[in-house]
Amino acid sequence: MTAPAADGTGEHTPPSLIARCGGIEFRNPVLTASGTFGYGKEFAVLFPLASLGGMVTKGISPNPRFGNPAPRICETASGMLNSIGLENVGLAGFEAEKLPFLRSCGTKVLVNFFGTNFDEYVECGRRLGWMDGVDGLEMNVSCPNIKAGGIEFGRDPRVLGELVRACRNVIEKPLWVKLTPNTSDIVALARACAENGADAVSVINTITGMAIDARTRRPRLATVMGGLSGPAIKPVALRMVYQIHRAGIGIPICGIGGIQSGLDAVEFFLAGATTVQVGTQNFIDPASSERVVREVEEFCRQNGISDVCELVGALEIQR
């Protein structure tokens, strides 16, 4: 509970927002999600990044990628679809052009990474793991595995486990895995990560979807299908966080999916997330992640919570 101030002023000490998640201690539990926050610099002119718990960079691959043809995005009911195509500057471009800023940005930096085969994942993770200024890595396993007919690496618990193990063996820094929700058994995927050395799971990536223009009879995205994000997916994300937490896989969860406010974040904590990432909301309100931090703190104050960790998994279910 909230402790009275030692100086006898009657003021209460501020709640502790410190969150320990997946081998990293964050100043608060609010991070920004990969692909929605660039490489940080774009937002640093709007608010101090040091106000955040951390940020996750755009996904990095060994070589630069130029992405998909337009249209790449499309608004849907309370959400949006994207098929950017994992465009990024590549490892060397990241180290030369983006990392110098990130080293001094004042917040924890996780680098999201991926490859198109096992060797690329391992090489990319290994090299990023050596870079000064990288606090941790987040594996994006929602990429098509060409060898397996284009199915995402992250959909098969066995393949996912092997991939996580292979990367774990070469990465000393904290290693998180961002799970795809396009599965019938999210717990099996999370468990495969935990059993093969991952430090945390980020839950969830976008949900595969599509949109059609009835008048032109054409898909609204050039690639036909894309990833759905935004408040539309929050109930699915909460459910998956809850299922993984309830299964007790032994590693923490970073909740992602449609978080727009501090209350949304608190819902994820209650479902079992230790930290959260703000994603699509960064497009709608570029200062939203900083606001979410303030609102989480305000929620704690108003509800007599002295440590945000008290909320994690504190969902009360009437039986």
Partner: protein
């Protein structure tokens, strides 16, 4: 670039779905360049979700910013119906903008439909510098009801060359035909004049403008419109094929591009059309 709250102080219906919005509290847009834009969103809850990119029509030092909209989707319909006093959030100014007016150059401003605002603002900038005679406006639409704010244009000292596809006002045909006619006129009447083109409008119009400019080797600046979520180069949604690299971004590299840096598709039904 700033992110701030503003208020609608005037919302004027111009017919045929067009409306002009005047915002107050936009002091940080005062130094905006013609061609720059803002991301604008009302208190819409969760749907529609994304802010709308809106070109600036005019800015004034007292924090006033004007925009021209046309209600085509849910966001623009909400803006069309918004009452004075409505709070909106604004991110801007964004993007690069058109080059400055130049006393030694005659700028041919080519506006198609709701793509008119940045060219109006360019003309306004020229007028403020006493250079309005160094620009010439060509403004086209489907019908006379697609040509708006003509009084405001004339008040700047412009005599816009109007064209409509149905011939209801001005020259019958597309604005690109008017552009070709004006280029030919200037090449005959004033062969020593340096011409420059600035255009904004539907994608097909922009490509046609680029194809017209190319054989004359006229410097051609196109302001493109593309779906975007963030406006600041983060979502990477607004990719357009370019020559200097595979894609450039309408929001952060543009929205104004030299036509020579874009991949201009060949004219429809013309196997060898387009710029090389």
């Amino acid at each position: 670039m700033r992110y701030f709250d503003a208020r609608i102080i005037e919302n004027r219906a111009l017919g045929n779905g067009y409306f002009s919005l005047r915002l107050g509290g936009c002091d940080s847009l005062a130094a905006s360049r013609p061609g720059q834009f803002i991301m604008l969103r009302g208190d819409w809850g969760r749907d529609p979700l994304l802010p709308r990119p809106m070109s600036l029509l005019s800015v004034a030092p007292e924090g006033r910013a004007d925009m021209l909209g046309r209600s085509v989707g849910r966001g623009t319909k909400l803006l069309e119906a918004a009452l004075p006093g409505t709070r909106v959030s604004v991110l801007g100014p964004l993007g690069n903008g058109f080059p400055d007016p130049d006393p030694a150059t005659l700028d041919l401003l080519v506006a198609g439909g709701v793509g008119m605002p940045p060219l109006f603002m360019q003309a306004e900038h020229a007028a403020r510098r006493g250079l309005v005679d160094r620009c010439e406006m060509m403004y086209g639409g489907r019908t006379s009801r697609d040509l708006v704010l003509l009084g405001e244009m004339r008040a700047l000292g412009l005599a816009p060359h109007l064209s409509t596809e149905d011939g209801s006002v001005g020259r019958r045909g597309r604005v690109t035909a008017a552009l070709e006619a004006r280029i030919e006129h200037h090449r005959t009447a004033n062969p020593s004049h340096k011409l420059r083109i600035m255009a904004c409008g539907p994608r097909e119009m922009l490509w046609a403008v680029a194809r017209i400019a190319e054989p004359y080797a006229i410097e051609c600046h196109l302001s493109v419109e593309e779906q975007m979520a963030c406006g600041i180069g983060v979502c990477l949604g607004c990719a357009i094929p370019a020559r200097s690299r595979p894609f450039r971004y309408a929001c952060s590299d543009g929205p104004v591009f030299l036509a020579s840096d874009l991949v201009i598709p060949p004219a429809p039904g013309h196997a060898n059309g387009g710029t090389p």
